[in-house]
């Protein structure tokens, strides 16, 4: 078992003929065989990956032809909003947007429309998700994690890999790892995923990787204290970050003293979440 994606997921790649899209779609394709189609407007009719994966002009056509139900988006920021709307309009159930640098104004409209359509969104500005040995949707390297009983949720990209890798070195695998992205407006939240992991029979414990900015970790803490029975281990990045400076992610900024790592750590500790001092320590704190 797993959440969101598994070996039956039929994955579509929007932007499959671009440099990054092509590279990562190939990684995904090699990881399993669930990449069923690509979309690049204007390149419909072409084939990629030695003629194994067809490219379509639109998500609608691709979905009709291949039954795709998950779409992962690698198109440039200017076009990413449109790509997400297109996927939702075509009835794609899960949309994973890797693209970073999407304007907030676009994201507010996109999120509202997706909610109306009932499509789930992961990202943008995220590494995607992986259910080891079953489905890799996005850019999380396939060789740094293995199947297991830990659900991982993270706002960060490479920091997550660090954690997955440290876990694997200790023989700990993951049920599903989801990178929810570091932007201020995004799709599924910590709380949405905590709920899914709590209900997932094959997830026994959860890793939550947070960072400075916003109050999502505090809200997650509140949710954990109310509804979670499974143990949670967390790491919050940015304890040494100065306030008022945006640390890369559009969302990672400490504004007038709020959104600090201290606040977040305190909120999580108060509800019984174990806090790791550095990413590799997460693996040590997990039950084996």
């Amino acid at each position: 078992m797993s959440i969101l994606v598994n070996k039956n997921s039929r994955i579509l790649v929007q932007g499959i003929t671009g440099n990054e899209g092509n590279f990562h779609a190939w990684q995904m394709y090699q990881y399993g065989n669930n990449v069923v189609a690509g979309v690049t407007p204007g390149k419909g009719g072409e084939w990629v990956f030695e003629g194994k994966v067809p490219v379509f002009d639109s998500v609608k056509v691709a979905k009709e032809a291949t039954g795709a139900n998950v779409s992962v988006i690698f198109v440039p920021a200017h076009f990413a909003g449109d790509a997400m709307l297109e996927a939702a309009d075509a009835g794609i159930e899960l949309i994973v947007c890797i693209t970073e640098g999407i304007p907030v104004r676009d994201m507010m409209r996109v999120r509202k429309y997706l909610d109306q359509k009932g499509s789930k969104l992961i990202g943008p500005n995220c590494p995607g998700l992986i259910t080891p040995s079953e489905a890799k949707v996005g850019i999380i390297p396939g060789n740094i994690t293995m199947p297991g009983n830990v659900g991982v949720i993270s706002r960060s990209g490479t920091l997550t890999y660090e954690v997955l890798y440290a876990m694997m070195l200790l023989g700990i695998g993951t049920s599903t790892c989801v990178g929810i992205g570091g932007d201020p407006i995004s799709g599924l939240s910590y709380i949405d995923l905590l709920e899914m992991f709590e209900l997932d029979p094959l997830t026994d414990q959860i890793v939550l990787i947070g960072e400075i900015g916003g109050t999502d970790e505090q809200k997650a803490a509140d949710y954990i204290s109310r509804y979670m029975t499974k143990p949670v281990v967390a790491f919050i990045a940015g304890q040494s970050a100065p306030s008022g400076k945006r640390m890369g992610h559009a969302g990672a900024i400490i504004e007038s003293g709020s959104g600090t790592a201290e606040e977040k750590i305190k909120a999580l500790q108060e509800v019984g979440v174990q806090i790791a001092r550095h990413p590799e320590e997460i693996a040590i704190l997990l039950n084996r």
Partner: protein
């Protein structure tokens, strides 16, 4: 991207938000001339991108053109919170009856624009929000429907605005919302929006922040950029799509991914070291980008050691290694470099580095440990 008051006011004016008569000036004699045109009494306002200009003496009322010139000279010679004052705004003085706060920003929680208003304007709104939250009125805007007139009236009601001012207020808030939308602002703020003794509503101050991610839609904004507020190295970094922030320490960091970069800084601190910077080389960083990053880190004379932590995802480690080697060959620095590479094509990368005698580490803890030791003069 933060805009100066005078830049924000120019935008407000375009969207029919009334602003005081006035102009920006670079030299004191211009201030005198503007004061003469405006009838004598003016306010001289330093144009720097920090708060608390008033308290720092950066805003002064002049009773006549002569005094305007004096104050202008004074203010143009100032530094406020480390920033030199290069421009002043010379505005007419209006007689104030009431001060209102009016702002629009993005609400992360509702994922919608939110209008914030208060009858207590002119002072720090965050302070008002803490001390008397009941004085703050908030209203969320459906991003697909947009701001509607009935909502503007709800806001007028929310701050107990007298009926006689509604018409002006509706026009101003509509204009402010259009400015916020059209300019891709993350903040569009009037503080204070004043009611003058002759019953006009005027935006006495103006503040806008533009979404950096949306600057591609506003190429004209690049000209408004104030490079004074940004360190030269940060500007250089942006050219290469790098995210660099200089800090006070001596361990230079180059990391892919903002979260991992922060975690790397955190662990350095935990081991007693001091990071010299935050530097995220982003996803898919090629050799040129990495070389540029290295040079930027080395432009900081405090840097005693460089920790490079790359976990391959979008980034391919062999590319990083190549970039690194080419940059090292280029700068020929004596600063020691500690590299940790894991992930996509990591082995190829590590091999390339090992062949070139660069120090490598297997874990982040190990890399941080080595770096801190090197920075404190220790040997390996």
């Amino acid at each position: 991207m933060k805009l100066h008051e005078y830049q924000s006011k120019k935008i407000f004016d375009r969207f029919d938000v009334p602003i005081p008569k006035g102009r920006v000036a670079n030299i004191a004699s211009e201030a005198k001339q503007i004061a003469e045109e405006l009838g004598g009494r003016v306010v001289i306002k330093s144009q720097v991108l920090v708060g608390g200009r008033g308290k720092a003496g950066g805003i002064k009322l002049a009773r006549d053109p002569k005094q305007a010139k004096e104050f202008a000279t004074e203010i143009l010679g100032m530094e406020i919170k480390g920033l030199p004052v290069r421009k002043i705004l010379v505005d007419e003085i209006v007689d104030i009856d009431q001060e209102i706060y009016l702002g629009i920003t993005n609400d992360r929680t509702c994922r919608q624009p939110v209008v914030i208003a208060s009858s207590s304007g002119g002072i720090d709104i965050e302070e008002v929000a803490q001390i008397s939250p009941e004085k703050i009125f908030k209203l969320s805007i459906d991003p697909l429907l947009g701001l509607q007139d009935f909502q503007v009236r709800d806001i007028a009601l929310g701050i107990d605005l007298k009926h006689e001012y509604w018409k002006q207020f509706i026009k101003i808030l509509r204009g402010l919302y259009r400015a916020y939308l059209d300019m891709d602002a993350t903040l569009a703020e009037i503080n204070p929006l004043v009611i003058t003794k002759d019953k006009r509503l005027i935006a006495l101050d103006a503040k806008m922040i533009i979404d950096d991610n949306a600057l591609f839609r506003h190429p004209e904004m690049m000209e408004l950029r104030d490079l004074d507020v940004e360190a030269p190295a940060e500007i250089e970094a942006q050219k290469y799509g790098l995210s660099y922030i200089k800090l006070d320490g001596d361990i230079g960091c180059m990391v892919n991914g903002a979260g991992l970069a922060m975690a790397t800084m955190d662990i350095i601190s935990q081991f007693g070291g001091k990071p010299a910077n935050f530097l995220d080389i982003g996803g898919g960083a090629g050799a040129t980008k990495v070389a540029a990053a290295l040079k930027i880190i080395l432009s900081d004379p405090n840097v005693k050691v460089i920790l490079i932590n790359i976990f391959g995802g979008i980034t391919r480690c062999d590319e990083v290694a190549k970039g690194l080697l080419s940059a090292l060959a280029d700068v020929k620095t004596k600063v020691p470099v500690v590299v940790r590479l894991v992930g996509t094509n990591a082995e190829e990368g590590r091999e390339l580095l090992a062949n070139a005698n660069v120090q490598t580490a297997n874990t982040l803890v190990e890399a941080a440990n080595i770096s801190v030791r090197l920075s404190t003069g220790g040997k390996l």
